[in-house]
Symmetry: D2
Subunit: 461 residues, 4 copies
């Protein structure tokens, strides 16, 4: 029995991903890779979505331009998905657009604006309160059915999902993946062209070392072929701080809920001296009202708030697309997703080491943050497992900003695990975005509890 057999005979359990097109990214990446093969078991709370993805995935196998040989199988429950799995991918939508509407827009009634609302802020907190019990259940099922499997989390809030997995089953081999850092690498690559150093540099040529927490990560080094990029970034940030810099591949920020002109990143660099490594719309939410006092202020910083109505409309498009993919009237475009999931899987089965950023419990790799909380740093992926790479210490000011959110996350975790709304409210009022008076904060909190009631069934009234 050789390692090659293993790589050609993998079992992947895909939890969720049905309601949106996330599973298609995996399908495309697997299809484009010739070194892995096996079966993907699809489990979704919406069985029809899972079955549609089964059809779509298996259709790929009949195409001549597909290198990876994979079978897709919709399964009716978690146990069937997990039993015998080598890898588990979690990418769920915790709740419906109804709760997301509350997450994002209820706070606006109190003057609290969020650009995403899935990580921190009132929205991130309530999303976490819904998600944590689901992740407790998933972790228990993994402990029971596939305790040795590698578990890849894509669901937000990333830190708390991963934290919950380990809090529930400490022996789990889980890690959380996020592509936000890649965008910053791409920006640094473009910077080299903008500053006349070198045009056409690719993002993967930019070496960075990452630390912090998901969506609030900071680079403690950035180099290109040995050149220290931090002094260049100083020039770049100074040059574009007023008007921003539009990445070619992002498109104009006015036309995209996901693009920005990086003015927040530039401002953070000029204030703190470190390169923040996530999209501006994520970064802004960690900093309180500075960049989010109002939609106008956000626009002045050249990013926009993503309304849930856009997500609803976008989902409809995806459903239409799914219909066509199932019917065969549209063929899946085979393009790399840009995610590193497949490269990580390959490294873990022995097909080449990989250094990349990842969310893991702190075992000392983030020397400024408490042990056990989930941090984002680089790690070495290989057949011997995932080994975090030790980051530098942060400056006191950045450490303090990050630690506040880490503290809130620990408070939220306790609140969710003990169903204690008093503790949840302690975290709520300590979020930088919650600048309302205590009384107003309470009113908003209670309204959001009421809106989320279906997912908080056993909380005290």
């Amino acid at each position: 029995m050789s390692h090659t057999n293993k790589a050609k005979n993998l079992t992947i359990a895909y939890i969720g991903g049905g309601s949106r097109g996330w599973a298609w990214n995996l399908m495309a990446d697997l299809a484009l890779d010739g070194e892995l093969a096996g079966v993907v078991r699809l489990y979704d709370l919406d069985p029809a979505a899972a079955r549609a993805n089964e059809t779509i995935g298996n259709a790929l196998g009949r195409r001549s331009d597909v290198k990876g040989s994979w079978k897709y199988l919709a399964v009716p429950n978690l146990q069937d998905a997990l039993t015998g799995a080598d890898f588990v991918i979690c990418s769920i939508l915790p709740g419906t657009f109804g709760e997301m509407q509350s997450d994002v827009h209820e706070p606006e009634k109190y003057g609290i604006y969020q650009s995403v609302g899935d990580t921190v802020g009132p929205g991130g907190l309530f999303r976490a309160l819904r998600t944590i019990p689901m992740y407790v259940e998933i972790a228990q099922a993994i402990e029971k059915h596939c305790p040795q499997a590698w578990v890849i989390n894509y669901t937000n809030p990333m830190s708390l999902c991963t934290r919950t997995l380990y809090a529930t089953f400490p022996g789990i081999r889980a890690f959380g993946c996020c592509h936000e850092v890649f965008g910053t690498q791409a920006l640094l690559a473009e910077m080299l062209g903008d500053l006349g150093v070198q045009a056409g540099v690719e993002r993967h040529e930019i070496q960075v070392n990452v630390q912090g927490i998901n969506h609030f990560t900071w680079l403690d080094s950035a180099t290109w072929q040995g050149v220290d990029l931090v002094p260049l970034y100083q020039k770049f940030a100074d040059k574009h701080s007023a008007e921003g810099f539009e990445s070619k591949h992002d498109g104009n920020w006015l036309n995209s809920y996901f693009a920005s002109a990086h003015r927040v990143k530039f401002d953070l660099f000029r204030r703190y001296g470190l390169i923040a490594a996530a999209g501006d719309r994520h970064l802004a939410e960690f900093m309180g009202p500075w960049y989010l006092k109002s939609p106008e202020v956000a626009r002045s910083w050249k990013f926009t708030l993503t309304p849930v109505s856009w997500r609803v409309a976008h989902k409809k498009e995806l459903e239409e697309k799914r219909r066509k993919l199932v019917a065969g009237t549209e063929a899946m475009k085979l393009a790399s997703s840009g995610e590193e999931g497949i490269r990580q899987i390959k490294a873990l089965v022995g097909l080449g080491d990989l250094v990349t950023n990842v969310n893991l419990p702190n075992r000392g790799q983030a020397p400024d943050l408490p042990h056990d909380v989930v941090v984002e740093t680089n790690a070495l992926f290989g057949a011997g497992g995932i080994r975090p790479i030790t980051a530098d210490r942060m400056t006191p000011a950045v450490r303090t900003l990050v630690a506040r959110h880490v503290g809130n996350q620990e408070t939220i975790l306790e609140a969710a695990l003990t169903r204690d709304s008093r503790v949840a409210f302690q975290a709520f009022v300590n979020d930088p975005l919650v600048t309302t008076d205590p009384a107003d904060s309470r009113q908003l909190f209670d309204a959001m509890v009421a809106n989320t009631r279906a997912y908080l069934p056993d909380w005290e009234k």
Copy 2:
């Protein structure tokens, strides 16, 4: 040579204390104690104040109601004060009322109100920036002239003064003392009467365990003769949360800048489940605008903001009193100060162990906070030294509140030691009281730098 000889032959260096009546507290406490004797060397930037205190102190020696035999000697410089000292007491006024006016009232122009302005908030930060260089100098002098001496700090900001001493001379034997916890013990004693448990309980009968940072301390246990006081405090806080509770010995809060009706403490307990152990006017400043949005809001919480004008007037009274004490037209009243300084000194020379709260670098006694930062916990004082007593872990929410200020203090320390106004501003905008827009925050910061310019001579413009 016996221990008794030692206790009867002490040399105490008193640094500062001249401009206000602080040294008189020490004189009274020493006069009332029959087990210690020796010499007190008085050093003050204002030599006339030191000489006046010399006269006042030595006058005590001629009174028949004085038990302690002490000589007082005004000295012209730090070296003369420190050389050969067994104990050093630091109680300085960092700057003049001019800077204090800026600390407390400049922020009011931007809607930022502070009840004290000497610990956190814009005022605490600028006071720290002035004080830290002075404490670097004091620590260097102690290392040179009396490295084995015990050093007692009374100056605010307490945490950063003590932190600076250790950062400058790691082998120093310094600790910071504050009486704020005693007030909470007194309140708990009064509570027993108010709830009909037992009237007439004295504050020293209340056993508490303390943790946190100075002026933002929390009790992790409180008992009286074995009775757990936390459930009683719950009743007490519920009973008085709306109207407050007026301590007998504090007097009515409306008539005193130092009294309160404990409404802030009650509110914090009801929110966080832990007894905060400092005066309301200190606690309020750590919590941002909740209790300090405006003078009216503060009044609704039944405490008042202390204006610098009151301090100016009060100083005039003290100067008048000093004049009389020197002239002998008024005799010093011998009453215990309520400070524990003398008891601590006695414990350290072997006259009986003592458990009390104290500010020290964290060596693990505050398990939730980083090593080396200055924390306030209980400690055992004895001839073998000061040994911190391990506190419990805090709840995640309280830990997060405290850690934010600890982080700001570390940022301020770095700013002061490196004279870096960018770093100082990083701490400034992270203070919970600073809720202004970045631009306004900058304007206020710059104004306060200008007002404090005399004490920040070598900062970049």
Copy 3:
């Protein structure tokens, strides 16, 4: 409901203690104290022993010289003993004299001599392997029947018994008590007379701070009325290092298996500069063959090896004494046991704080040793609980000596919990006393496993 009611209405579960006279110490101490009252439930694997103690204890209640009002009740099982207990005292004999014979004397066939054989060395290891499963059972029963009770352990090996309680039930409120440090305090008191400083000093006047692990504790300070005793101890050790010093209250070491002339302690001080704070016969075992190469070498250091035959004979005496106590033909002598158990109980119910040495999981109080392992340091006992007092750092050399035994204990714990004889042997060959060749070591180990087989039923052959 007041604290006084509590102290007068205690339930103590006494586990073990029947086979030897240990329970009588408790009875005497309780009888001599007028502030506590209640019931003591006696549970022993030997029910007749428990019933005899019930009779003996209740007889005390009829004596006019007894102050404490206590009922004694023999119970048939652990559950009956524990349910509702406020305090649990564990003092068991793990196994019979048969296993103890193997612990102490089997190694002698290989030239390995042990003065006690219950803490470290081959004997301590096998005693631990027998005891740990019993303590797992006790901890589980406490979690079930009285999770809030204070649990006092007297059984050896002290560190591993206490460690097992916490490893099994992390929420347990257990601590381990040992009187070895008191003997060193007594020696320091006698030293003051011997050196002509002051005659007649009592041991409780000597203030010490303790650190290390049970039976291998070291003083990091020792004072009497403020006088530093370390320089005096240097003189004392130099004066008596060659011939030893016979404590008055111990009697001549030649006539007592428990006495010594402190030559080991003096030698350790002269080598390491720290005062070791346990009896020489315990200390010697931690140091390998230095003091224990042969019975003759031990005698040259003026202490003796305790043979199990003495324990057997002594037990017979105790049984005869028990017979008489039960029959009423002998009256119990009411003398303080010298243990601090009662003082600790009184402190914990609010009858006065107490600082004493105690074995507890390391939460940072022993800054040189890993977290969670059981260390012996001072702690403050009070109504608010037991709070460890932070010790100084040890010198690198002493730390290394202690850490080796801590490491062995962790290895033994793993071996016992997983019933893994390979791991047990890893600890065995790393004990300083085991200087035999690997093959001989294996042979001895196997023989001791065979001798202990009845208590290792489920180990692989």
Copy 4:
């Protein structure tokens, strides 16, 4: 200015290396590499040796088969070598063969045998006492003349040399390199052939993760193309434990002081379940007399003791060779040294990342060992610096073995820095190889101090 210019314009200071052929390894490696160029400054206590190496190195530049363009320059002092250096390589011989004779052979008079005598044991200790003051001087010079340089240490005792550099100049960018792990990788590669899995595997195809301390390192994972090698190693160790396994490239152990039949490694694996990753002659010294009770015992484990006489003879051969190289009558053979120095340098200047094992202060990468001590783990080398990779926790037994030596090293460091022979002796008697009686140990220690007197000038007699 691009990174390429940097790599082509390096300044390397080579400290030492003259007395033996070590510098030639570097010359060959630099000659074989086409991506780096610059100047190597040679400083040696023996100026003639440095000048000879200058000649030899510069001769290479005239050869057509040499790719790297380097100038060699002998300099008369440390300052000239260091000023402006990008890299500093330290490879010194601390003392003469006279002291080495004492290190290795004086203990034999007391029945203490050492296979190498440069890392632990009496020889390692005295070598450290000589070397540490030299490394204090080197670190001070680096702080003064090239604080930003990367400093590569090759001198033994590796851990203590590197530790001293950081203890003296905490901001130094130093790391220690050792090739011992490579030999274990080579053995694992050969194992695959021996077990019939795959012939012809190269050592660099074996992925390992390393932890522990230099020469006493352990693998916490070992894979080849995704295959876990630990179960295979179990078979391999069982198969060859009795007779050993002769590596092809090492040659027969009987004919080589550096080869072995890996019986020690196999025995350690069978006892502890982890793969030890250093040569048997190094490993044996850490384990006390097990494998080193006598030369015969060592031979029975199929390795030999390296006598200093061999080193003396070998040096003569090298001097003869040097003479020929200088004269041009012999040409240097250009073969890769097998060291990773050049690959590390290339990674640090941006010519490709590298994961390899390295000695660095523990910042958390070795979670079982104290912070700040020098540990050997993997690290990622890149233009952003060297970032340690977090290792797994060790088993309690292996951790205890390693921690004992770490403790001894800390004791030795203190002894050397404070010139305290009492502290040095504390470490001496705690070394596992020192099984002599205290009196004999003292005699040996004193003799070795006398033999080393020239390098311990300011120690108290």
